[in-house]
């Protein structure tokens, strides 16, 4: 009982990062109809900027917050650049072209990271709490713990994704995003500057993704490749959200985390290596089948023009 409770707790906190990354992913998709696989690279780049700021320091809070803000800003800038230089020129190209362009940007960013920082493992000195809380004591499950940093990430995810959902559903800018998402040609006809709004969404999406990446890198380890797997999981959560509803990222992230966590344990007496990471891909296939109608509607050929 305690083991499975712990696995569920782990899953919820692990899934917070997926949910946050997915929110950035969905936002960009809503604005431009492009699956931004470069988001992982943008987040990694921001994380390396944070690493540079914190390297050799005493991991002070002020310095960390400053470095964190700089890293997020750099990622946002990369989002704008990507939209302007790689996506906008492909506005009239087949739907696959911008997707491939984002993969190209991801590879470019990974290469730049390796050239600048090398491929070695890096730890980001940080002031994030490292101790666990023994939350299980409350209900007599004394072995159940939760890491304080993981709780912080979960709180950030809930606040940020909720705020983002509110912005998209309750503000004029959000209305604009929805208009270019639903009918880009019509929105353009009504005077909406589609390119500009799309660029802003790319910046915001990259920034939200970078928050997730920087927190994940701070609490584990940084290298040019590790964040990419998280991006794939964010895609699963994004599809769960129909590539549309940000609120579902709040649920989808932790849900995927819990499923992964339980899949990594013994199931009917057997433990299958790699199932934990693979389960996300099974979920993706299942979601695409179950939500085929919603996804098809969302993926409809209504890209901004």
């Amino acid at each position: 009982m305690e083991l499975y409770t712990q696995l569920v707790v782990n899953g919820i906190t692990n899934g917070a990062v997926y949910g946050l990354l997915a929110a950035g992913f969905v936002l960009v998709y809503r604005a431009s109809r492009v699956l931004n696989f470069a988001q992982a690279g943008m987040g990694a780049f921001g994380a390396y900027v944070l690493f540079d700021v914190m390297k050799g320091s005493d991991a002070g809070t002020g310095r960390y917050i400053g470095g964190f803000a700089l890293g997020v800003a750099v990622a946002a800038g990369l989002g704008i650049l990507t939209e302007r230089l790689a996506i906008r020129p492909l506005r009239r190209a087949p739907a696959l072209a911008p997707l491939i362009a984002t993969v190209g940007v991801l590879l470019l960013l990974q290469t730049l990271i390796i050239l600048r920082w090398g491929g070695d493992l890096r730890s980001i000195p940080n002031p994030l709490p490292k101790k666990p809380w023994r939350i299980g004591r409350i209900v007599g499950l004394h072995s159940v713990v939760v890491n304080q940093s993981a709780v912080l990430i979960l709180v950030v995810m809930v606040l940020l994704v909720s705020a983002l959902a509110l912005v998209v559903t309750r503000t004029r800018w959000g209305l604009t995003i929805r208009s270019i998402s639903d009918n880009p040609a019509g929105a353009a006809g009504l005077g909406v500057r589609v390119g500009r709004v799309s660029g802003q969404a790319w910046a915001l999406g990259a920034a939200v993704g970078a928050v997730a990446s920087l927190l994940a890198a701070s609490t584990t380890i940084l290298n040019p490749y590790t964040l990419f797997l998280l991006q794939i999981k964010a895609l699963v959560v994004g599809v769960f959200a129909g590539l549309k509803d940000l609120r579902l990222c709040l649920i989808g992230g932790p849900l995927l985390g819990v499923v992964e966590s339980l899949a990594g344990s013994r199931i009917l007496g057997h433990q299958i290596a790699g199932l934990s990471d693979s389960v996300g891909f099974f979920a993706l296939v299942a979601l695409l089948l179950l939500r085929a109608g919603t996804i098809t509607e969302t993926l409809g050929d209504t890209r901004a023009s």
């Binding site: 083991l3 782990n10 072995s143 584990t220 380890i221 490749y225 590790t226 797997l229 790699g274 990471d277």
Partner: protein
């Protein structure tokens, strides 16, 4: 020519003529002999090897299975108080003649150098002089049919790997393009290296170590006038497609002469069967993959992965007496190799495995593995894995506020990035090291540091993998030198299988102990045990146990 006839050189008395079961080598060496005696003319014109030549010429008196060996090697170590002969030449023919005299007047620095098989019973394969001075308990010298070719091996004291290792071109030229990948000017050698991926930064230093050695040799004129060219291919610490593509590129496009000093164990899982089938020599691979030990044309440098587990766990259990263990294992051939070795020892001592967690290379989230392990509550955790997974495992465990009662153990904590990244949590953990720690400042290590620093600025990134590749590159140079100017793949294999590297001093506190048969080769079974004492230090390790032979390396 029966160049591939099996020869067995057991330096350890206990293994006389037998092969280790766990390596899958033939249990009865010498069975494949019986071909005609070697007929290669002695080509022992190479100058001597190591400068000090303090190593006993193990296996002296070998070879000479009837060939027309033309006489002793012309040189040995400069100092070389090397006892000549000594092989228990019980064969009926061609007892290994004493080696020629060293250039500097040293007595016979070569193991059976020259191997003038004067009385070689042509065609009978009368083997001679297998074994060596250390085979007192009866190396199966003269086992019928175990004849080695009577090609005169170049004078070759098994001096420290720090030998200069160059050889001047013969006055009459070096024979030009004597085989694939060989010209009058260059020898093209291929290698799989880890240059990208999760452990890419670590892997690139392996290639740098090899290049440092080759640069040094080339600067001194090369080997018989030929420069060494390493053609590297990035296999990213993977099996499957990448190494397969690299294999094809190196062998068919680049047309390498041989694989040499190549360091990517997972790649060899895929490539070894291919190289073996095509009979392309692979000299001094890193030895991480079991496949490297099951082919007569592959010659690994380091100990087998399971030997690494054997030594470190045997030491650990005898010191700390744990009752239970949790294992984190890399889920691939290399991880399974370490895991198999671990289970040999755990079973022997009755240590119960209460949790076995596997992970795939590149996995970044270890909360589930840590949780499963924590709830199983083992006395200690053993890592059958590369460093990245365990680093993340330990950081996650720390985040869950869990540390097992006893220090961890593993096979790769000797990569300094581990204690640096994990910090105090890693303090006290124990792992293996195939060689003496570089802090011992042995002659080979001193030269390694000097040469590496001469060419590269990242000396701080050295680790035991880079040391292994350094040793491999030095052994490669020595092999090519001993093969003589008329360089062919057959000649190369002949030299490697002759036992000439039995007793070869790596310069890192370990001497090769050659075990060769028709199904595989093994050169080092020695492993040291080290402890992470000061995680934050530049050199965080202390030596707990100097390299010892794998105690599970049993005969029969």
């Amino acid at each position: 020519m029966s160049l591939l006839a099996a020869a067995v050189f057991c330096a350890a008395a206990a293994c006389a003529g037998e092969q280790p079961k766990h390596l899958g080598l033939a249990a009865n060496a010498g069975l494949t002999g019986g071909g005609p005696g070697g007929s290669a003319p002695g080509t022992a014109t190479a100058p001597g090897a190591g400068p000090s030549g303090v190593t006993p010429a193990d296996g002296a008196g070998q070879g000479a299975a009837g060939g027309a060996g033309s006489g002793g090697g012309s040189g040995a170590g400069a100092a070389g108080p090397v006892p000549a002969g000594g092989g228990e030449a019980a064969g009926s023919a061609g007892s290994g003649a004493p080696g020629g005299r060293g250039a500097a007047g040293a007595p016979a620095g070569a193991p059976g150098a020259g191997s003038a098989g004067a009385a070689g019973a042509t065609g009978s394969g009368g083997a001679t002089g297998a074994g060596g001075p250390r085979s007192a308990a009866g190396a199966r010298a003269g086992a019928p049919g175990a004849g080695t070719a009577g090609a005169g091996t170049a004078g070759a004291g098994n001096g420290p790997a720090g030998a200069a290792g160059t050889a001047a071109a013969p006055a009459g030229g070096n024979g030009g393009a004597t085989d694939v990948g060989v010209t009058a000017d260059t020898i093209k050698l291929g290698g799989f290296f880890i240059e990208s991926g999760p452990v890419g930064e670590l892997g690139i230093t392996l290639l740098k170590s090899v290049k440092a050695v080759f640069n040094e040799v080339n600067a001194a004129g090369g080997i018989y006038g030929r420069k060494l060219a390493i053609v590297d291919c990035d296999t990213s610490f993977t099996s499957g497609d990448k190494p397969r593509a690299c294999y094809t590129k190196l062998t068919q496009q680049d047309k390498i002469f041989a694989f040499a000093a190549t360091g990517d164990g997972p790649a060899w899982v895929t490539a070894a069967p291919l190289a073996c089938k095509d009979q392309i020599p692979a000299l001094w691979t890193d030895g991480l993959s079991q496949n490297e030990f099951t082919c007569p044309t592959i010659f690994p440098t380091g100990p087998a992965g399971r030997s690494q587990s054997h030594v470190v766990l045997d030491y650990y259990i005898n010191k700390l007496h744990p009752k239970t263990v949790g294992i984190l294992a890399q889920n691939d051939d290399i991880g399974n190799e370490w895991l198999t070795g671990a289970k040999d020892v755990l079973n022997k001592y009755g240590v119960k495995v209460v949790s076995e967690q596997k992970y795939n290379l590149g996995e970044t989230n270890f909360t589930t593995q840590v949780t499963n392990m924590r709830f199983a509550n083992p006395d200690f955790v053993f890592f059958s894995s590369e460093p990245l997974g365990p680093i993340l495992f330990q950081k996650t465990a720390e985040g869950q506020g869990w540390k097992p009662p006893m220090p961890s153990a593993g096979v790769t904590c000797n990569v300094s990035v581990w204690p640096k990244e994990v910090g105090d949590y890693s303090k006290g953990m124990i792992c293996e090291n195939p060689w003496q720690l570089t802090s011992a400042h042995l002659p080979g290590q001193v030269e390694y540091e000097r040469t590496y620093k001469k060419y590269w600025a990242d000396w701080d990134k050295r680790n035991y993998y880079t040391e292994t590749m350094w040793i491999a590159a030095k052994a490669t140079v020595e092999t090519l030198r001993r093969a003589g100017p008329n360089l062919t793949r057959a000649r190369l294999l002949e030299v490697l299988r002759s036992g000439a590297f039995n007793g070869f001093d790596t310069g890192f506190g370990v001497k090769f102990s050659q075990h060769s048969s028709a199904t595989g080769n093994l050169f080092s079974i020695a492993v040291a045990v080290v402890e992470v004492a000061k995680p934050a230090d530049e050199d965080p390790y202390v030596l707990l146990q100097a390299p010892i032979p794998d105690p599970y390396f049993t005969a029969g």
